[in-house]
């Protein structure tokens, strides 16, 4: 379980988040939604304990599986060695990873769909591939909580689909609390149970199940553009709902 209780963060006189409360129990997935500059990243950092809170407190286990947007790449490590770093908290400061840790790392790579990069150099992988390796590292920590920072931001459509499928496979056993940030409400619809909407102009953020929070009215005030819900035929034929800005599909004159 991970969350914040009445968390406030100010940068100087500017209030970034105020009295923010939410929690994500094991088995549920939260999508944090909002345009840039509304405190998505600050909220994420506060949850991870990287951001000092001016008020309130953070509820989190000792180790949170954190998937940064881009990993460090000025050092040349093999993907497997990057993933085994996830075991660091269990090994202590003087510990060395043993065969069991490498076994865990390999199975995490497998779960993240990155097994084929095991012996590749991390800094030579593409952005999307690196993200899968970093996800594997977060899984290898053994933490019940996974936090992903803008996992879909740098991905093309094909990789977005793969990532969402992957998130759903991780979500399915209901043995983890998963949090991710995104600015596309469709990612929340497809892969989250709850959503946290970072509303504009000092309005309190909206937190609740996806069915109640991802509505055209809420999204209109969230993004400041008219939003429409449309029915779409999915990849395997079944219909589902999607949220689009009303300007989507306008043809150039």
């Amino acid at each position: 379980m991970i969350g914040l209780e009445g968390a406030t963060v100010r940068f100087g006189s500017r209030i970034i988040i105020e009295a923010l409360s939410f929690s994500v129990p094991v088995g549920r997935t939260l999508a944090i939604l909002g345009p840039n500059g509304r405190g998505k990243t600050t909220t994420l950092k506060a949850m991870l304990g990287f951001q000092q809170l001016d008020a309130g407190r953070r509820v989190a286990p000792d180790i949170v599986g954190y998937v940064p947007q881009t990993g460090t790449s000025n050092q040349r490590y093999r993907a497997l060695d990057v993933v085994v770093m996830g075991r660091a908290a269990h090994l202590g400061i003087f510990g060395q990873p043993g065969p069991e840790d490498f076994r865990i790392a390999r199975s995490a790579l497998e779960r993240a769909g990155a097994a084929r990069f095991t012996d590749h150099y991390f800094d030579r992988l593409s952005g999307g591939e690196r993200q899968l390796v970093l996800l594997a590292r977060a899984i290898a920590t053994g933490s019940q909580v996974l936090v992903l920072d803008e996992p879909a931001a740098a991905l093309d459509l094909h990789n977005q689909e793969r990532l969402l499928t992957l998130l759903n496979t991780l979500r399915h056993p209901r043995d983890k609390a998963i949090v991710f940030t995104t600015h596309d409400p469709n990612h929340a619809l497809s892969s989250a149970d709850d959503a946290l909407l970072m509303m504009p102009d000092g309005q309190p953020p909206l937190f609740g199940p996806v069915a109640e929070t991802i509505t055209p009215e809420h999204l209109e005030s969230l993004y400041g553009v008219p939003m429409r819900v449309v029915e779409l035929a999915g990849p395997s034929g079944e219909t589902h709902r999607a949220v689009l800005p009303a300007f989507a599909g306008i043809r150039a004159a």
């Binding site: 599986g65 050092q75 093999r78 660091a88 400061i93 497998e110 012996d119």
Partner: protein
């Protein structure tokens, strides 16, 4: 699918391991050859077989009385010098590799961070006051550590230290300490302490004896072993701040532990052999090219290569000309061009990929 990737991965892992083993074997062989050659050459040359025999006798029966001149030269003059050079080279290379890891910057080295100049100040002051032995080492160590702490205090802005600020602070502290060292030289007695200070500052193993080797050894070995035990942690500390913290590292505290160990190593080395630059930056770079960036392989490779390189440099220093050439001169002459080459390759590769 899973079975397929396993099968594909296995040969790659094996070839990786085989390559590492080969590199380490070559480095160890280089070190062994350098070690033996260094015992043999000099104004009084000794055949290699005789040198090895003497070493064997020295190890099996250390308290034997040394009668012949070649016994005395090999076991009392050359052996402590070669051992000390190897330990110092290993320690400096190891410190450089660790420091470059925690700073995530390939350009830092103990002499850039002010540790060497700080230690030099302690040493110069100690020599001037006529202090010797363990108290001198303590002074050198404390002043080296003080320099590091000073760098840390200057570089820490809003609770965190940026890499570039740390390097620039190191430069500032370094030049401050070297100004004070110059001042000490200015006021030192030109007949007694001044030559000692100047010679010591240029770096040399010429005064090595078993006693001095034993004074430096504990710091070098304990510091080195502890750093080596931190090798996996150094991988973690080489990541971005947030990533390292999310993996459970208390980055600030652990980084300072690494600095402390490096101050012990460099302090011990400077105390007995003066300032020796370049080893801490050239050797880790060369080792990275050979075994990769993973500190679990990089640290031992740096140790062996550093030891071998230092022994070779020291052998050159005492045999190339009739008089001893200061070590600092040779390491700079050899190290600077190698470093320039590495730097160009590094950035060419980076821009290329």
């Amino acid at each position: 699918m899973a079975a397929l990737t396993e099968d594909e991965a296995a040969p790659m892992v094996r070839s990786h391991l085989a390559r590492q083993a080969l590199v380490f074997a070559a480095l160890l062989a280089l070190f062994a050859v350098a070690f033996v050659v260094s015992l043999c050459v000099g104004r009084f040359s000794v055949p290699a077989s005789r040198a090895l025999e003497l070493i064997w006798l020295g190890v099996t029966d250390p308290w034997r009385e040394l009668t012949t001149i070649e016994e005395r030269i090999v076991l009392l003059v050359r052996a402590p010098r070669v051992v000390l050079a190897a330990l110092a080279g290993a320690g400096l290379a190891l410190s450089g590799a660790a420091l470059q890891g925690v700073f995530r910057n390939p350009l830092v080295s103990p002499d850039i961070l002010g540790i060497s100049q700080g230690a030099a100040f302690g040493g110069a002051l100690g020599i001037m006051l006529g202090i010797w032995g363990f108290p001198l080492i303590a002074m050198v160590f404390i002043s080296g550590m003080a320099a590091v702490i000073l760098v840390g205090l200057i570089a820490r802005v809003n609770g965190r230290s940026e890499t570039i600020t740390v390097i620039l602070s190191g430069l500032v502290v370094s030049s401050m300490f070297s100004a004070v060292v110059s001042l000490l030289q200015f006021v030192a007695d030109p007949n007694t302490s001044l030559p000692a200070i100047v010679y010591w500052l240029m770096g040399s193993f010429a005064t090595a004896t078993w006693e001095r080797t034993l004074i430096a050894a504990p710091g070098l070995i304990i510091g080195g072993v502890l750093l080596w035990m931190l090798r996996f942690r150094l991988n973690i500390l080489s990541l971005d701040e947030a990533e390292a913290q999310s993996l459970g590292a208390r980055t600030n505290r652990e980084r300072w532990l690494v600095f402390g160990l490096i101050a012990v190593i460099v302090g011990s080395q400077v105390a007995v052999s003066g300032i020796i630059g370049w080893i801490g930056i050239v050797i880790p770079h060369a080792s990275r090219l050979l075994v990769g960036h993973d500190h679990r392989a990089l640290l031992p490779a740096s140790v062996v290569l550093g030891a071998g390189f230092m022994v070779i440099i020291d052998t050159l220093a005492r045999t190339a000309t009739a008089a001893e050439i200061p070590l600092g001169v040779i390491t700079a002459l050899v190290g600077a061009p190698i470093f320039a080459m590495l730097l160009r390759n590094h950035y060419r590769e980076r821009n290329g990929s």
